[in-house]
Amino acid sequence: MSELESREGDSLIDTSQPIPPDEERILISQLAQNPNAFRQLYQHYFPRVFAYVAYRVGTKQEAEDLTATTFMKVIEAISRFEYRRDRSFALWIFRIAHNEVQQFYRLRQRRPTVLLDDVPEIASVDFLPDEAFARKEQFVRLQHMLATLTPRRQEIISLRFFAGLRNQEIAAVLALDERTVASHLCRALEDLKQLFESEEAAYEPE
């Protein structure tokens, strides 16, 4: 696991903790009168949307493009959004982001080669400059490994790990059954693990 192994003591970047449902409902109810309500929602969801999109497209420039487009579409459609249940705002945002990624690949057809220079910075709580390079390498490697999965499994991994959605929510975004999502998630992780181990074995000294 050498290179890809995360260091002991690393703290997880908090991308999954939701705004408490009551608070989110209040913020959404205030959107028409109080722009600051949108600001709070934006600040909460921006890192998750960017991380999700960055894994799906790979380069910083394209991740910025799609993140900006996603939030612009959120703004344009926000008057039509209806709060139906807890976390429905998260589902709505990621459905928009998911559609933008789909649209991106419809136009692009194939995945571009990603150079380290084009990769976004990687979040860390104890960031040291000489680790940045290694973290970017890890990102590129993980991204290449994800690209070997089927599009659906790529999407499920990205929505679970980087967007911070739960299986039930992923099921709602992708119009799937929750059990199917869980199954895809486990199989995708197994595939990734096998791929990683075979890559490691290929580079082991004889």
């Binding site: 949108f38 894994y55 220079d117 990769v119 040291l128 000489d130």
Partner: protein, 400 residues
């Protein structure tokens, strides 16, 4: 529910504990996936926030239909309104243009020089001129490069525009025809210390910026220049880690007026100076008195680098050395001139691209010997010894 489902449930439960409570997963790959999270530049997040918030507010003057260059367009592309909105914007713009015409005779005043807002004005938006594209240092600013936008006051405060010392332009006429004294980023509000008027340039003593040098404007009381004169080559000293350090040496003092001094420096030095400016570290100048560096023997020389996967280097490649910007002051000890090595910076990191070194040999799968012209080899070796410096190998750019 079969055996597989049970295993899946256990796996998913572990995953939930990792992602929601931070408990490590038994599979290290899963832990890594959860930790390697790309993040946007803070500046981008903040600029997008401001742009979105401005979009939520009524827009007094926004000319989104201007031609934009390809670079830095993420937010512009997202904010460009559909055609149906253009008519609405045009009506608003016409109304505001009328107000602007009425105010045309008023001299421009920096925002901070105006009367402080009263309680009833507190929610009034701040009108600022922003760059609608990246403007390289030294460029004469044209109408197509700037626009006026209205920013909610809390955003203005967040961007520091309301603080004393930030003299932000509020109408485009004040900046058109002037010259950028530093590189201006897309959506950056234009402040007085970012531009100068080329017509009045030489009313203050000034010298030409040497070819391939960039200008960097810094706030400094001109009466503290202590005997320095325009055209002098100076060293910039800064207090870093509690010590006075020479941060860049041998830059040209090109202009000094109204509390702003302007240096001309090669790109990498300009970037270090820009970092110094942002860091807020106190600094001072002194006359550069060091001997001129002796020319290096440029005969090819070898450099040894240790990397993983070195055996894969079977292509033409460039070596990119990343140096943390806060170690930039160490670059003054570079053994040779580095101006010919392509340089870029993202603010936090300085990137030097050594083009197409000759691969001499690879031993033990990780020890790579490269051959470059003598000065480049000496510089590459020096850079790689700096704390925090890293190297990466990328496919070579086409030869020019």
């Amino acid at each position: 529910m079969n055996q597989n489902d049970h295993q899946d449930d256990f796996y998913i439960e572990q995953l939930d504990r990792l992602l929601e409570k931070g408990h490590p997963h038994s599979d290290p790959l899963v832990n890594t996936l959860a930790h390697i999270l790309p993040q946007a530049d803070q500046a981008f997040q903040q600029e997008l926030e401001v742009a979105l918030m401005a979009h939520l507010q009524p827009q007094p003057i926004v000319n989104w239909e201007r031609q934009m260059p390809k670079v830095n367009q993420s937010i512009y592309r997202a904010l460009r309104p559909p055609l149906t909105w253009t008519v609405t914007l045009a009506v608003v713009a016409l109304a505001v243009a009328g107000i602007m015409l009425a105010n045309l005779n008023r001299a421009w005043l920096p925002l901070t020089a105006q009367t402080p807002p009263t309680a009833t004005q507190i929610d009034q938006p701040v009108t600022v001129v922003v760059a609608t594209q990246a403007i390289p240092a030294g460029t004469v600013i044209t109408e197509a490069m700037v626009s006026v936008i209205s920013i909610p006051q809390p955003d203005g405060e967040k961007l520091g525009l309301m603080q004393s010392g930030h003299n932000v332009f509020s109408n485009v006429e004040s900046v058109i025809g002037q010259r950028a004294s530093v590189a201006i980023r897309w959506f950056q509000p234009l402040e007085t210390n970012l531009i100068f008027d080329p017509l009045s340039d030489c009313t203050a003593p000034c010298v030409d910026v040497p070819q391939d040098y960039q200008s960097v404007g810094f706030p400094l009381q001109t009466d503290t220049l202590q005997g320095l004169t325009i055209g002098d080559r100076v060293d910039v000293l800064a207090v870093i880690d509690g010590e006075i350090r020479e941060i860049v040496a041998n830059v040209v003092l090109t202009k000094a007026e109204s509390g702003i001094v302007t240096f001309a420096a090669p790109a990498w030095q300009a970037s270090v100076l820009a970092w110094l400016y942002r860091s807020g570290a106190p600094y001072a100048l002194r006359l550069h008195t060091g001997p001129a560096p002796a020319p290096l023997d440029n005969a090819p020389a070898d450099v040894v680098i240790v990397i993983s996967d070195a055996e894969l280097l079977d292509f033409l490649f460039d070596v990119i050395v990343n140096v943390p910007a806060d170690k930039g002051f160490m670059l003054i000890h570079l053994p040779g001139a580095i101006d010919d090595v392509p340089f870029s910076s993202n603010g936090d990191t300085l990137y030097f691209r050594f083009k197409r070194p000759e691969l001499v040999n690879v031993t033990d799968g990780s020890t790579v010997t490269l051959r470059l012209p003598g000065a480049d080899a000496a510089n590459l070796d020096y850079l790689l010894r700096l704390r925090g410096a890293t190297a990466s190998f990328v496919p070579a750019e086409p030869a020019r």
